[in-house]
């Protein structure tokens, strides 16, 4: 998977590039629209990550030019503009995505994965998820740890499903709110954490190896340690 990263702030470019490389992507990073356009013509990229405020061109114009050249790779927009304007929303509806600064790397990676999944041939929708001895039956909405059936509320099941789908990857509280509760805001209190604690008390009960881990400062991860 090759990604094109266009970001003029070099410190941001550096850490995003490093995070993407660590996640297993090949990355072409550049700081201006001109060279980005050249790179996009030279090589095939699976997705673009484009900052809106570029020194030589507006990011949206760069996207428009790439599209005009027949390049259909999905685009993740990075923006320091807080309230994302209508044009960006239009792009989003076209199958692309945006992320406002500052962002958590976990979220950036999740969104990239999401874009790549959307653009690739539609995967067969899983009906079962398994992580270590945890099993989720998505159709019957039943969760089992080993042989023991877990008594979960509807919300708890959705939360566990989201963690399982992202097993091994860190998810932030904002991502959890967005995908489980379909709400877009940063809670100032520990509402999400309380849900996680309750879920954890049911999933990681006595005698089982803990699966739900807190990554301080970032969020949570479900993994077989």
């Amino acid at each position: 998977m090759r990604l094109l990263l266009v970001e003029d702030d070099l410190s941001i470019q550096r850490f995003v590039e490093r995070a993407l490389v660590e996640a297993g992507y090949q990355v072409d990073a550049t700081a201006d629209a001109k060279s980005a356009e050249a790179l996009a013509l030279e090589r095939v990229h699976d997705a673009f990550i484009i900052d809106l405020g570029l020194p030589d061109m507006d990011g949206l114009d760069l996207i428009a030019r790439c599209r005009a050249q027949g390049n259909a790779a999905p685009v993740l927009i990075l923006s320091a503009r807080r309230s994302v304007d209508e044009r960006v929303k239009g792009l989003e509806q076209g199958g692309d995505d945006y992320l406002t600064k500052p962002f958590a790397l976990a979220e950036l990676l999740a969104r990239i994965r999401n874009l790549l999944r959307r653009s690739s041939a539609s995967q067969k929708e899983a009906t079962r998820l398994e992580v270590a001895d945890l099993q989720l039956d998505l159709i019957g909405r039943e969760a089992k740890r080993g042989d023991q059936v877990l008594q979960l509320t509807h919300q708890e099941f959705s939360l566990l499903e989201y963690l399982c789908r992202n097993a091994g990857r860190v998810v932030t509280r904002t991502m959890i709110l967005e995908h489980v509760w379909h709400m877009h805001f940063d809670p100032a209190t520990n509402v999400v954490d309380v849900h996680i604690y309750r879920l954890r008390s049911k999933v990681d009960c006595d005698g089982y190896k803990p699966l739900i881990h807190t990554i301080r400062g970032v969020g949570y991860v479900l993994k077989h340690a």
């Binding site: 807080r82 309230s83 304007d85 209508e86 500052p102 509320t153 919300q155 709110l177 509760w181 709400m183 877009h184 805001f185 940063d186 809670p187 100032a188 209190t189 520990n190 509402v191 309380v194 849900h195 309750r198 990554i215 301080r216 400062g217 970032v218």
Partner: protein
Amino acid sequence: MAFFIVYLVVAQEVRSRSDAWLTGEAQVLAQIAEHTPRDGLYNQIVKEVAELAMQEVPDERGSRGERLNSVFFLRANQSGDILFVGPGSKEVFWRAIKEAHLQVGVPQSIRVEGWYPAFRVVLQVHGGGNPIYLGLSERGARHILQTLTYRFLWGWTGTVFLGFLISYLSTRRTLRRVERITATVARIDSEGLDERLPEPIGYDEISRLAKTFNQMLERVQASVEQLRAVTDAVAHDLKSPVTSIRGTLESALSAGNSDEWRDSVAQAIEGLDRVSSLLNTTLDVAEAKAGALPMKRVGVDLPAVVTQLLQLYMPAMADKRHEVRTDLESGVVVEADLGLINRTLSNLLENELVHLPPGCQIDIRLRPHQGYAELVIEDNGPGFPPDIGSPPFERFVKGKHSPGHGLGLAFVEAVAQAHGGALKISNPPGGGATVSLLLPLAEKVLPTSFVKAPVHI
């Protein structure tokens, strides 16, 4: 135009007056001619009478000579003798009269060779069948009209000049006042917002301008002062986390083992998240207050949204041993931005979580009321602190011991107002705090029914 009309009217009047005189005099002369015996003296008497009559020429100024010059009397008898009293030679007048074919008693204008302007002439016939002609030069009428024209011109010129003078003076006065305003504004620009324009008494445009300008200055000054207060508060609220983040990272640098610096970094990230959320909310409130929040209005089923949010918040509420009771009337639909409504309601619920001591009771009621959806959140906690002051929704207005940034309610109110609603808070006499949020109901009202919705945790 008006002058032209006046001119015509006066000309008509002058002509009818001189015609009346002519007709009258001619009749008198005709009678005299009739009753006077035809002897040698006859001609003399008629001439004398005619001269006398001529001295009564109407509207005629000037010397007697001129008067005589402007009138003639002419009588012809069957034998062709012509008695003529008047200026110039009788042949010229006689020829002109003969060419004119006058009717008895009807005055008519006749051009006489060598004389200008024309004469107004009337014909009378006396008993002997001899015609008597009496003519009056139109010079008198013309003179009157000329005088009228001159006077009008003078009057007009005078009026125009006076008008110019008045408008010049008043414009100069106005411009001086504008100049004073400009000078004051320039001073305000360079020295500060404390200065005000002198407000003249009166209701003219300049006074109104000055008053409006001063009102605007009041508002600008108030906003600037508020901005300063906000900037101070933001600076304070930003500086403390930044200081702590810096300190944490610095101590991480000197920390020996990886667990210690991992902990510090996590702390720093949490601090940064708080800073970024503070920034976002500050900008949101500013944007909402400026009416610049991007809104996508859809029909929002409020009881459903509240129930969904409560499911999110219930575990946290239960952790603090709060008892939450709800009474949500179903079918209360508002036209609003769903994302903003979610954030607004979660702000209110987070307020309860943050400010209440453990083990409180929270009542949440929703009902339609006079065209609004009224959401009331009532608790039996300590209530709003008295130092919150008024108005309570200003950015950064918060209780001294309140842990938040004081942005929550400001944001809620701004969103409510952006939707055409309102936010009210109070400490009811029985204790606790009451927050009520009003949002205008959607136009299409769905059938409503009472449903007591128990919330499952």
